[in-house]
């Protein structure tokens, strides 16, 4: 279980909530309200204060990289660092089944990075995050650039992982999607995080 207590940074008032394994919580709120700041603070990418622990182990008990391997984060605009798609994956063969299921060809690993569209990049980044096998996954608008068919595949894929025990925090602007994927809701408004009724 991920337990967050008094987590704060500039632009984010102290937030406390928890997230269980096998649970998907939707995060809603207007743009610029601090949703991305919240996710970045949970994975400890920016200086922040407060306590975050996983299964009772504080994140300070391990180094940053170890924490981020347990708690994955897919930002709204995923980053890339190499000029071939496949080099962003620790093992392309492991990633392949997920890549194909998301409607991308098997040879996408050989593509130059200039080739995939925004939607394709988003799907590739999702696969990249999933193949790390995190215990918690923070998703920031993972389906914003996708067509309806791909949206359902992504939702189904995440739902399976959640059934297998993955804990998911899912930022979405789409009210209907929130209702589909989650039963618990958080609302972020002007840097305040609070639990919200469905």
């Amino acid at each position: 279980m991920l337990v967050i207590s008094q987590l704060s940074r500039s632009g984010l008032a102290p937030a406390s909530f928890s997230l269980d394994y096998g649970e998907c919580v939707a995060v809603r709120g207007p743009s610029g309200a601090g949703k991305s700041l919240l996710l970045r603070s949970i994975v400890d990418l920016d200086p922040n204060s407060g306590e975050v622990s996983l299964d009772g182990v504080a994140r300070e008990a391990m180094d940053g990289p170890a924490w981020r391997r347990l708690v994955g984060y897919l930002p709204a605009e995923p980053g890339w660092w190499d000029d071939r798609v496949g080099r962003h994956f620790s093992d392309w063969a492991t990633a392949l089944p997920l890549v194909e299921r998301l409607g991308l060809p098997a040879d996408a690993g050989d593509w130059p990075l200039t080739r995939p569209s925004t939607g394709e990049r988003m799907r590739l980044a999702l696969v990249r995050a999933l193949t790390q096998s995190p215990k918690v996954l923070l998703l920031d608008e993972p389906t914003a650039a996708l067509d309806a068919a791909s949206v359902s595949v992504v939702e189904a894929m995440i739902a399976e992982r959640v059934r297998d025990g993955l804990a998911v925090l899912w930022v979405t602007h789409d009210a209907a999607q929130g209702e589909r994927v989650a039963r618990r809701f958080l609302r972020v408004e002007a840097g305040q995080v609070r639990e919200e009724a469905a």
């Binding site: 200086p47 990289p65 930002p75 660092w81």
Partner: protein
């Protein structure tokens, strides 16, 4: 030494006609650089004349203190120059402090190495050897350090999302910053590599030319130049590695986060 042809004030005035011709060209073609050109020429004359006076005084009083003081002044000027060349300097005193400490450490180390092994003047701090040697090594180390730091900070700012993507996937900071670090070190060493490969074919180094004009046998001047090139390569390498690694530590933290908030904000941010 066989003696040399001394220059008179008239000779220099004759040479300065060329700069005046440049200024006239700027006026005729509306380049708008004539003022800056003339000011730069006057500065050059004044600065070099002062340097000549300082060196003459230093050489007549062979003292470790005066040599050290001259070296310190040179290092501080080099530090200021390297800081001014940064597009996105580290915030606070870090930019000046890191650049200056790395290049002075590297340049002094290499200069003392040369003075105590290859050249061995007596005493080893004799300013006639120490000051010109330090000047040449420091100038090149400064270029390497400022290029390295500039490539590092620009690279991290521009490739931030890629670097953070690797951090998010659990890469430690040196792995996530690896490509940017390698670019920074490569850029820092490139001028030295280029000048070593072009020397003697495309360009005749100023020091060697000076020695030959001063009456030194060409082969002797060449040997000096080779030694200087090695020293420059060593100084640049040490200084650049120190500055770039220092920059990496300053721009990341113990939690392996990228800390671009420790760069001075660009104007307008």
């Amino acid at each position: 030494m066989n003696g040399y042809i001394a220059l008179s004030a008239t000779d220099l005035a004759l040479g300065s006609l060329l700069v005046l011709a440049n200024a006239a060209l700027s006026l005729a073609l509306h380049l708008g650089v004539h003022r800056r050109l003339l000011i730069a020429a006057v500065r050059m004359v004044v600065q070099l004349s002062l340097m000549g006076l300082v060196l003459a005084t230093l050489f007549s009083h062979v003292s470790p203190w005066w040599t050290g003081l001259a070296a310190l002044v040179m290092v501080l000027f080099a530090g200021r120059e390297a800081t001014a060349r940064q597009d996105r300097p580290l915030a606070g005193w870090w930019s000046f402090g890191l650049g200056t400490s790395c290049m002075s450490m590297a340049a002094c180390l290499v200069t003392i190495f040369a003075l105590t092994t290859a050249l061995r003047p007596d005493p080893w701090y004799d300013p006639r050897y120490a000051i010109p040697l330090l000047g040449m090594i420091l100038g090149n180390t400064m270029t390497g350090v400022s290029l390295g730091l500039n490539t590092l900070t620009n690279g991290l700012a521009q490739r931030r999302s890629g670097v953070e993507a690797r951090l998010m996937l659990g890469a430690p900071r040196f792995e996530a910053l690896g490509p940017v670090i390698r670019d920074a070190l490569r850029n820092a060493l490139m001028p030295t590599i280029n000048s070593m490969s072009a020397t003697g074919v495309v360009s005749l180094p100023g020091m060697m030319t000076g020695q030959i004009l001063g009456g030194v046998a060409p082969m002797e001047a060449v040997k000096y130049q080779i030694l200087i090139m090695f020293l420059i390569a060593g100084g640049t390498g040490i200084g650049a590695v120190g500055a770039v690694m220092g920059g990496v530590f300053r721009l990341t933290d113990a939690r392996h986060r990228l800390r671009l908030d420790r760069l001075r904000p660009l104007s307008g941010e």
